[in-house]
Amino acid sequence: MYSLNQRFNNQDIPEDEFMASGNSACAGCAASLSMGLALKGLGKPTVLVIPACCFTIIPGAWPLTALDVPVFQAAFETTGSTLSGIKAAYRKRGMDDVCVVGWAGDGGTFDIGIQALSATAERNDDVVYVCYDNEAYMNTGIQRSGGTPMGAWTTTTPVKDPKSEPKKDIDEIMIAHRIPYLATATAAYPHDMIAKFKKARSIKGTRFIHLLSACPTGWRVPENLSIEVMRLAVLSNIFPLFEVENAEIFRQTVIPDEVIPVERYLRLQGRFRHLTDEAVKEYQKMVDDRFERLRKRFEITE
């Protein structure tokens, strides 16, 4: 059979399903979709550690769960250390092949959980840490986080005073820890994403996966466009898809046929509606500069 959508061969997507219907995410939530795809890549046996974030509630309030893998609910700032502890416990029980995976939002990663995460990475503990980045504290009502991009509206950075600082570069922070594997991914490119989770599972040490995860509610985009907006983030180089091994080998895994202007990404979203044309131009320059820094490293490996 040939690929009937001509770009992706969807026959390659594993049939396994570890996330059931009936979850409590908002309509169009990319996080719930991302979890389903991530677990297709990871497979079993896998244990999740989830701190305070949207995903505390998405699988369902007690006694419900949409997840077909065990979940440990951790305190906001403790994902990293909980992962280390749980992994140690499995090792002690001779079950070293259980994959222990943290699943935290940008608030719990960029801001509140960064100390524990950094310590885990410094010890190179054998865990996977996933940050599904929806670029604000969405669960508590769209408050600004370190992951919120410059210029974005949130409830704490109102339109007359939008966020003036650029997004914290969590990828560079984690690369600086020289961990064995780091990848960016998004559910708009499911094949790429699943492949990265498969690869992460096969590697030992601390692995960090940074997911861009659209939040229609907080980004002010129509629910049906959450895949579209993530795709535009990739096509405009705002969120390039790449992987880094041992802080040395940089590889861009999805290379857009044609790079589109960031304007198309920004203008689709209500949270950027107030940006002037001038501001969009600056934004373009910021994105170009960052991508250029990355691209140089992609080249070195070739």
Binding site: N5, Q6, F8, M19, A20, G22, I227
Partner: protein, 581 residues
């Protein structure tokens, strides 16, 4: 797995143990996704009502026989059609906005040739009913009507005044565009289906129209347009002057018309082009003289292009005034024309300038248009200047008589003739069964303004599964172009010009199997589900599943929250959102 889930479990104080499936999130939605099958612009455009997106899907998977059968549901002549149809479908192809149109006609030609090479057959039981239908004229319109009526279980007799069936396809179109083996091969299938051929019988002369009216339950007329329009100047009886139909008929009968070495062909339509191209093959120089400019030429652009390649010259904005020469034509006096206002056909009208000039020639062919011979029409059907009055389905004012092809008010092409024959067959079948026209009538169920009918769609029995047909047409904005890589189309190859001029060998070369498959796979299959899986992969609710009972997918409304991602990510516009009450 090595461990039981219990072993892997972490001991906790409170543990969730119930599946979220009890939480019916479907109640949240205000709109729901629907799988629908929309009409692609090519299908809407096809005057013969073919299911192009359907057979492209089958060909892409190498399912040639099924593809052939899908075409045969609509059109009995895929090998002919792939060659002579002007493929307006390709002009409407949504892929033109992406990269290049799909080369639909070359895929169709491949499938038609596959059917001939493998002697594929349509089997039909003997006539079920005693009612019989007479078909007058074995051109594409009559043959198609006969084919469909026979498939619907009716007895059919077909009368033609010529020695062989085929009409203009045999006596007009030269064999470098339509080889006679292809024509014979496709027509012979009708023989095998039990259509009775009464050849060399001219209705109105050898048998009367009245006797058909009495002996048959219904009559279909498709006698075509065989009268060459006269130039209306003097001297047309000189030697070396032909009209296009006589000339091409001689050629197609293998005779060698006595024509000179420098030929002026008057006219700008397809028959003018064919006459000029034939003249080149007879070793003559040929100049087409047309009273408007190239932009107004009714001939198909590809035909004009091929004529140019073969060395045909064009003289625009010139109209014959007089013919020189004693017995034999020796030149033409032409008047220079200018372009004026738009006329009824939407083209700029030629206006005489009074200025004249002469050209040399020793042969001339007039090809300024063909019309129906009014004297050949039955006395009891009403017509206007040879154009028979008929309703959308082809029924004439004399209710037992139906008409199609070049004698009714539709464009003069083989494809339109085929479409009209099919429409009339549906109407005749319903007439014989005494079914009144109502809101369920087939003419309510047509693709597009041209009123073409797709029978498989009508019956709901297409080989390409369509579960929820709608008449909406899909345009490029309904697609998600991201899912289609840009791939340039395969170009048609033609044999070298010196080869062409040696004889009547077919000019355009067939596609190889690989090329056909690659073209078929380039098709967007606009508006139809091809089971690509996007809806299911991108559903955040995990609520879209493969349809356990067959084709495609189903959305579980118990859990669908109505986000609409599936609709946005459907590459081909085969889904829609419906607001709920």
């Amino acid at each position: 797995m090595k461990y039981t889930d219990r072993q892997v479990h972490v001991p906790l104080c409170s543990v969730s143990t119930t599946s979220s499936l009890v939480n019916k999130t479907g109640t949240w939605k205000s709109a729901q996704p629907l799988f629908i099958d929309r009409v692609s612009p090519c299908n809407q455009q096809c005057p013969a009502g073919e299911d192009i997106t359907g057979y492209m899907y089958l060909v892409g998977q190498g399912r040639y026989e099924e593809a052939w059968r899908l075409i045969m549901e609509e059109n009995p002549f895929p090998a002919i059609m792939g060659r002579v149809c002007f493929h307006t479908c390709e002009e409407r192809c949504n892929r033109t906005e992406h990269d290049d149109a799909v080369s639909i006609h070359m895929v169709e030609r491949f499938i038609g040739d596959y059917g001939l090479a493998n002697s594929l057959r349509i089997t039909v039981p003997g006539p079920e009913r005693k009612e019989r239908v007479a078909i007058v004229g074995a051109g594409p319109a009559g043959l198609t009507a006969a084919y469909h009526l026979r498939k619907m279980g009716n007895g059919v007799s077909i009368f033609d005044s010529n020695q062989k069936p085929g009409g203009m396809m045999r006596y007009g179109i030269p064999s470098y565009r339509l080889p006679k083996e292809v024509l014979d091969g496709e027509i012979s299938r009708l023989d095998e289906m039990g259509v009775e051929f009464k050849i060399a019988v001219k209705v109105g002369k050898d048998v009367t129209w009245d006797s058909l009216d009495n002996e048959f339950e219904a009559v279909f007329m498709g006698i075509g347009a065989w009268e060459e329009t006269s130039l209306g100047i003097e001297g047309l009886n000189k030697k070396g002057i032909y009209n296009a139909l006589e000339f091409l008929e001689d050629i197609n009968l293998g005779k060698e018309p006595k024509i000179g070495k420098r030929i002026a062909v008057i006219g700008g339509g397809n028959s003018a082009i064919d006459c000029a191209r034939v003249s080149r093959r007879l070793g003559a120089e040929a100049t087409i003289v047309y009273r408007r400019s190239e932009a107004e030429m009714p001939a198909h652009t590809e035909e004009i292009e091929m004529a140019r390649e073969e060395g045909v010259r064009f003289l625009f904005l010139a109209s014959p005034k007089a013919i020189y020469g004693e017995e034999t034509v020796a030149g033409v006096k032409l008047e220079k024309m200018a372009l004026g206002e738009m006329d009824d056909s939407g083209r700029r009208r030629p206006v005489p300038t009074g200025e004249t000039f002469d050209i040399d020639c020793d042969g001339m062919i007039t090809a300024i248009g063909e019309a129906t011979r009014v004297g050949d029409l039955p006395p009891f059907t009403s017509h206007r200047g040879g154009v028979v009055e008929a309703d959308r389905m082809g029924q004439t004012t004399h209710l037992r008589f139906f008409a199609g092809g070049d004698i009714i008010d539709i464009p003069h092409t083989v494809t339109h003739a085929i479409g009209s024959g099919k429409r009339a067959a549906v109407a005749i079948d319903r007439f014989l069964r005494g079914i009144e026209n109502d809101k369920d009538s087939p003419d309510q169920f047509t693709w597009g303004e041209s009123g073409t009918i797709n029978l498989a769609w009508l019956k709901g029995t297409s080989l390409f599964c369509r579960r929820n047909p709608s008449l909406e047409v899909v345009d490029y904005t309904d697609m998600n172009p991201f899912y289609f890589d840009c791939l340039p189309g395969v170009k048609t190859k033609r044999i070298p010009v010196d080869e062409r001029l040696k004889g009547f060998q077919e000019v355009s070369e067939p596609f190889s199997e690989e090329e056909v498959i690659s073209e078929a796979r380039r098709c967007f299959n606009c508006g139809s589900c091809t089971e690509c899986g996007n809806c299911c992969i991108f559903c955040p609710e995990n609520s879209i599943k493969r349809d356990p009972d067959g084709y495609g997918y189903v959305a579980d409304m118990d859990f669908c929250k109505g986000c609409g991602i599936c609709v946005n990510e459907c590459p081909r516009g085969a889904m829609t959102m419906k607001l709920m009450e």
